[in-house]
Amino acid sequence: MKLQANEPEGPLAEKWQRHQANIKLVNPSNKRKYEIIVVGSGLAGSGAAATFGEMGYNVKCFTYHDSPRRAHSIAAQGGINAAKNYQNDGDSIQRLYHDTIKGGDFRAREANVYRLAEVSVKIIDHCAALGVPFAREYGGLLANRSFGGAQVSRTFYARGQTGQQLLLGAYSALSRQIGLGTVDMHPHEEMLDLVLVDGHAKGIITRNKETGKVTSHAADAVVLATGGYGNVYNLSTYARNSNATAIWRAHKKGALFANPCFTQIHPTCIPVSGDYQSKLTLMSESLRNDGRIWVPKKVGDKRAPQDIPEDERDYYLERKYPSFGNLAPRDISSRAAKQVCDEGRGVGPTGLGVYLDFSDAIKRLGEDTIRERYGNLFDIYHEITGESAYQSPMRIFPAVHYTMGGLWVDYNLMSNIPGLFVLGEANFSDHGANRLGASALMQGLADGFFVIPYTIGNYLSECREKHPTDGHPAFKDAEENVRNITNKLLNTHGRHPVSYFHRELGKIMWDHCGMARTKEGLEEGIGKIQKLREQFWQDVNIPGDNEEYNQALEKAGRVADYMELGELMCRDALERDESCGCHFREEHQTEDAEALRNDQDFAYVAAWEFKGADETPVMHKEELNYKETKMATRNYK
């Protein structure tokens, strides 16, 4: 299979404009003849569904939540990047582009990243117009803050709830279209299969969470905006219901899965406190603007942080990366935390933690300023740990936070299956091997509001024939497939609840495919996952029936998919015999333990083809040929 990225011709800075001028248009009176399915209602899904509705398409939007406003985009705290240069600090589209592609350790596609930087500007305009209450300066203009991996202030924010405010903005645009009748909203409806007719994506199968009813939905194109798959690790900063089922089932129908091993481990999360734990809570990266990260210099120093004098503290990020300091990118900061903890210098009861200390900032700016900037984050920290970060430093540790990998898409965000489009975190396209802070919101909104509404025209204008009805045999087969999986789960009657398998899988993934990976470890991990999967299908216990609200059944289907996906992640990590960004193979590091990339052999996107649950998947390569950007060694020193 030859992967066609379909990047437009011309210089990088002109590609998107030229492409927009050349995209085929759908005549307004024809738009209403087309039906588009959007799965997911986060930033990308809501943005796409709302804009399609405005343009005159018939849209059906699906979410497994009770309301489109619940999607996990809502939990992003810190901000959204845009190359506005409102701070007059030398920012530009070129600079945002360069920071993003460098932040991704040169494993993203040049043209996609440039487009992202380009449309970032429009996102802020649109969201402000939607009534998003961004933070402002006293003159009434928009305020900015700094984020990791950048030396300019380009991050727009709404207190510590930027994701919430942006999602509610997109939700309000979507709600308007639902009210106008252009979008038919289906809450509590979970996509369980993709339907292909003559090789094109022409519909989906859903299960209603309240009644268990399985339904076919036909359309001219299917857009997946279903988020990332970090819950493979069980413990993560994801919402508990975030899952990989939509993209994984599409993968099983032929969509290639790109760079599955690229998982972001976020450096600043609240450490694990016990084995009952259900999720990990992020402390926004924005805290690193004013907080200083340190551990004791001495191994095993158990004194209280206040009792450790200044010269016995190691501000290791400031020491190792003087020019970026505490704002070094996420992958680098996480690995540095792991290193000091491995050396026995970690803090807190488990030794798996480092300090994030605000005492200098409080001295400099006063407690009130710190409270205004980060009050809600300090409150969250207090609720969870019972400690006040105004009095003593926070304890933080890395946790799974985002997946850069996802379904493979071309420049038009279309997967290798014609008619199947993938947006936001669900695709692989923009963040390479590491995502910079405040770029996820940017990508979700860019894909949903400003890219897919244009690029879908190319596909739709060429599929003139009437879309198949849901009576087509392909739909019946897919429905049958969904019912078979459900029945198999309900009829296993084993000994363990589904959460047992999820926890076990999470441990395997964290130990073998986490912050540091080795050949032996990954091979062992694959073996363990295969065994666990076998055990799952013999020993899982799902009570109740399909025809009722059954949360255990929902979860079981998702965990079954995680076990297949987890194995693919390990396989991808094994195949990528280099270190890059988040992917740190211990075999490949520099003398001072930095990631050692191998551009000669690994400057490609690894796109995996499913061959059957027990078959070895096949990898296809999309070579990354940078025309205008030099693949340099990342240096944040």
């Binding site: 943005g47 804009t51 405005e54 939540h65 009770d66 309301s67 406003r69 619940r70 996990h72 809502i74 939990a75 802020i124 305009d125 649109h126 402000a128 117009a129 939607l130 009534g131 209450p133 961004f134 933070a135 402002r136 300066e137 006293y138 009434g140 928009l142 709830q161 919430q164 405010q165 509610l168 939700y171 309000s172 645009a173 709600s175 308007r176 639902i178 009210g179 309240e210 919402a239 508990r240 219901n241 016990g274 009952y276 734990q277 259900s278 999720k279 992020l282 969250i380 609720e383 019972g386 400003f450 609840p497 589904v498 959460s499 047992y500 216990n541 009570p543 009722e548 609200y549 255990a552």
Partner: protein, 256 residues
């Protein structure tokens, strides 16, 4: 620690519900309340019994999905927290804890502790937005907004749409929810063009959905996980009054 739970069990909207007594044992006080329910559910599932259905998602107090009435209080003990932010250290060993869904006529029970809050979505669909087509917005700094106004709009915008305000109100009023969204947009320059129709349509849809009226007891803002102030209800009432007066004038003008 150990606690006894009295949990509301109801198979679906059409069947009658009842309280069931369940024991939660060997708990760690640092567990969240929902993690305690996870432990109870794991035990039920291992015995092939239906776990207690409850809504939850982000588990960090921002998505608005979780919706438990704990000991009669929507979102349980503690000020300004959602159910997922309640920790077992708020209870004592040996306590008996009652857990119910958010109770209100416009929120029918789906199962056990899960309720249907689509009525809230309908209210937003009626007017909780600014009409702006993608791609048509002016530069974001073209309209300066005083910091105080932006901050106040943000206070209102913090609403997570959980419905605790409705569950806390003896009239099942949704005034705080509606006031938060209408006030946020009505305060900002972007929202001025639709200021009147917004508040009129949202209030009409609220009434149609069967929510009750406000009788100024402010249980809503006391239960609100984001501590949204009842002052916004006053603002909405003023917006509503003036919108009605202006509409009357507009209609009269048309006749002439």
């Amino acid at each position: 620690m150990n606690v006894t739970l009295k949990v509301w069990r109801q198979k679906n909207a059409n069947e009658e519900g009842h309280f069931e007594t369940l024991e939660a044992r060997n708990l760690n006080p640092n567990m969240s309340f929902l993690e305690m329910l996870d432990v109870v559910n794991n035990e039920l599932e291992a015995e092939s019994k239906m776990p207690v259905a409850f809504d939850h998602d982000c588990r960090e107090g921002i998505c608005g999905t979780c919706s438990l009435t704990i000991n009669g209080q929507p979102h349980g003990p503690g000020e300004g927290v959602a159910s997922c932010q309640v920790y077992m250290r708020s209870f004592k060993d040996g306590d008996t804890i009652t857990i119910e869904p958010f109770r209100a006529k416009p929120f029918p029970v789906i199962r056990d502790l899960v309720v249907d809050r689509t009525a809230f979505d309908k209210i937003i669909q009626a007017g909780g937005f600014v009409t702006v087509r993608t791609g048509s917005a002016p530069d974001a700094n073209a309209i300066p907004i005083p910091k105080e106004t932006a901050d106040l709009a943000m206070d209102a915008a913090a609403c997570i749409g959980c419905g605790a305000c409705v569950a806390a109100c003896k009239n099942a009023s949704a005034m705080l929810f509606v006031a938060a969204k209408s006030s946020q947009l009505n305060m900002l320059p972007q929202g001025q063009a639709e200021k009147d129709t917004r508040v009129l349509k949202m209030v009409a849809t609220m009434d149609e959905a069967g929510f009750g009226n406000c009788t100024n007891q402010y249980e809503c803002s006391a239960a609100c996980p984001k501590l949204i102030s009842e002052d916004f209800i006053g603002k909405m009432n003023r917006d509503y009054l003036f919108a009605n007066l202006r509409q009357k004038f507009l209609r009269r003008k048309k006749k002439i």
